[in-house]
């Protein structure tokens, strides 16, 4: 935008507006479609849900790129500035992967512990375990 004329810059801004607006609408339509709200798709297969989710995430990342590089002018800044701001955010990619995996692990461990508790209660009832066996005092 810094090398364009005034009229061209104004046009670029409004093109940017329509781009963001249309992308947001597409995301909402895909989200509703993925949940089965748009008529014509009664039951939603899992692959469709995953596919629309990945598409929606992709569109949001593109919107983020557009806002940072055009509206916030990052494209026209010195490359070094862009690197010092953007490279640290790449660290978040690992944080996302690690913590989502962590959340999933909590879910599985909870199921494991509940299953173990059930087995232990059963064994106690059936007499396989008695208070002398378990040294819990």
């Amino acid at each position: 935008m810094s090398t364009l004329s005034y009229e061209a810059s104004k046009k670029a801004v409004f093109r940017g507006f329509w781009l963001l607006f249309v992308l947001t609408l597409i995301e909402v339509v895909f989200s509703l479609m993925g949940k089965g709200h748009i008529p014509g798709i009664s039951s939603v297969p899992t692959w469709l849900l995953w596919g629309t989710s990945i598409l929606i995430i992709g569109l949001s990342l593109y919107k983020a790129y557009f806002i940072v590089f055009e509206f916030m002018h990052m494209k026209y800044e010195v490359k070094g500035l862009a690197m010092t701001v953007l490279l640290p955010t790449l660290l978040l990619i690992w944080a996302i992967i690690a913590f989502f995996q962590e959340g999933n692990a909590w879910k599985e461990r909870r199921a494991d512990v509940e299953a173990k508790d059930r087995i232990e209660v059963n064994d106690r009832v059936l007499g396989a375990i008695d208070d002398q066996t378990l040294d819990w005092r």
Binding site: S9, M72, T89
Partner: protein, 342 residues
């Protein structure tokens, strides 16, 4: 002699490097520091959103966004359009996008040293921001007051199994004891009959249960409009909202029979973390919008007073607050994505 000259030149070069008044990355101090502040704020929001992701992945089920967020304040629309999934939040996103665009125009006018242009576009940006805050306030009021979602209680959940909602007569036939309550909001008692909105006058205790506490009570399922849902069937994973009438101080857990006919049970609250995460994250973002609006107001007043004319720096202050405002919009893109779309 030759070595002396080389040393002298080196000294001058060293002095030039350390003499100051050079702008690293060709950016002014204020602009550079605004970028680094935004980077740190991005990490704060990322921390919150990643915590949301971790907790959501750890739950077997999570409230369905298009069921939770389907209300809107446009009461002039026809009845069949009273429930519009995600439309109100799309309007909110649209408001922030518009305010971002008007902010870019303000910065552009600033580069041309056009004082009135900057003022007008900044005013439009502020109006967009205030509109967003108003919408968020309506959303919170609706969720807390009407639907009963708080930081610690989440009345939105999904059924783990299929079933059918039961009527009062069916519960009594199954051995439940009916307790009639005098509704504080109404002056008259209705003798326990199951008319439309009078379902709230009677609740049921399971056979053998004598302790009359809210947690032990079974209710005939009713939605917010007073429509009794007894006899309606549902599938596993069907979303539901535990009714909370404003006149009755507790939630009404709808009683249902499981699809295989094995037991009569009632609705459960959804994952507790949902409310806390929603209010804290959207609240923290809303706080950023609010502080952004305050800063925009201050700088717009400065612009109008002609403070930046003398500086002749292309209204760089407007550009800096523009960076903050675009960051707020950027965060909303991700909050919107994570809470409403996925």
């Amino acid at each position: 002699m030759a070595t002396e000259t080389v040393t002298h030149d080196d000294d001058i070069e060293q002095q030039a490097d350390w003499s100051g008044a050079t702008a690293p990355f060709k950016a002014s101090y204020g602009k550079l520091m605004m970028w680094y502040f935004l980077l740190s704020d991005a990490f704060t929001f990322a921390g919150f959103l990643i915590a949301y992701g971790a907790l959501r992945f750890s739950m077997p089920s999570w409230p369905v966004p298009d069921f939770v967020f389907q209300t809107h304040p446009f009461s002039f629309l026809p009845d069949s359009w009273q429930e519009l999934p995600l439309i109100f939040v799309t309007v909110m996103s649209f408001l922030l996008i518009v305010s971002s665009v008007t902010m870019v125009r303000a910065v552009q006018e600033g580069h041309r040293e056009n004082r009135s242009g900057v003022s007008i576009w900044m005013l439009l940006t502020i109006i967009g921001g205030l509109g967003f805050l108003g919408c968020q306030a309506w959303e919170w009021n609706n969720l807390i007051r009407t639907e009963g979602m708080t930081i610690s209680k989440n009345p939105f959940s999904n059924h783990a199994e299929g079933g059918t909602y039961l009527s009062g007569d069916q519960l009594v036939a199954a051995g439940f004891s009916a307790i009639k309550v005098k509704e504080e909001a109404h002056d008259h008692d209705h003798g326990g009959e199951d008319h439309g909105h009078h379902g709230m006058d009677t609740y049921y205790l399971a056979p053998g249960v004598t302790l009359d506490v809210p947690d032990n009570r079974f209710w005939v399922k009713e939605d917010h409009h007073g429509h009794v849902m007894a006899g309606e069937t549902f599938e596993p994973d069907a979303p539901y909202l535990i009714t909370k009438h404003s006149g009755v101080p507790h939630y009404q857990f709808g009683a249902y029979q499981t699809a295989d006919g094995s037991s009569i049970t009632k609705e459960q609250f959804g994952p507790k973390a949902f409310g806390a995460l929603f209010y804290c994250i959207t609240g923290f973002h809303g706080f950023h919008v609010f502080s952004g609006v305050i800063f925009l107001l201050i700088i717009m007043i400065n612009v109008m007073s002609g403070l930046y004319v003398k500086r002749k720096n292309g209204y760089e202050m407007v550009e800096k607050i523009g960076l903050y405002w675009h960051f707020v919009d950027l965060v909303w893109v991700f909050v919107f994505l994570v809470f409403y779309l996925l």
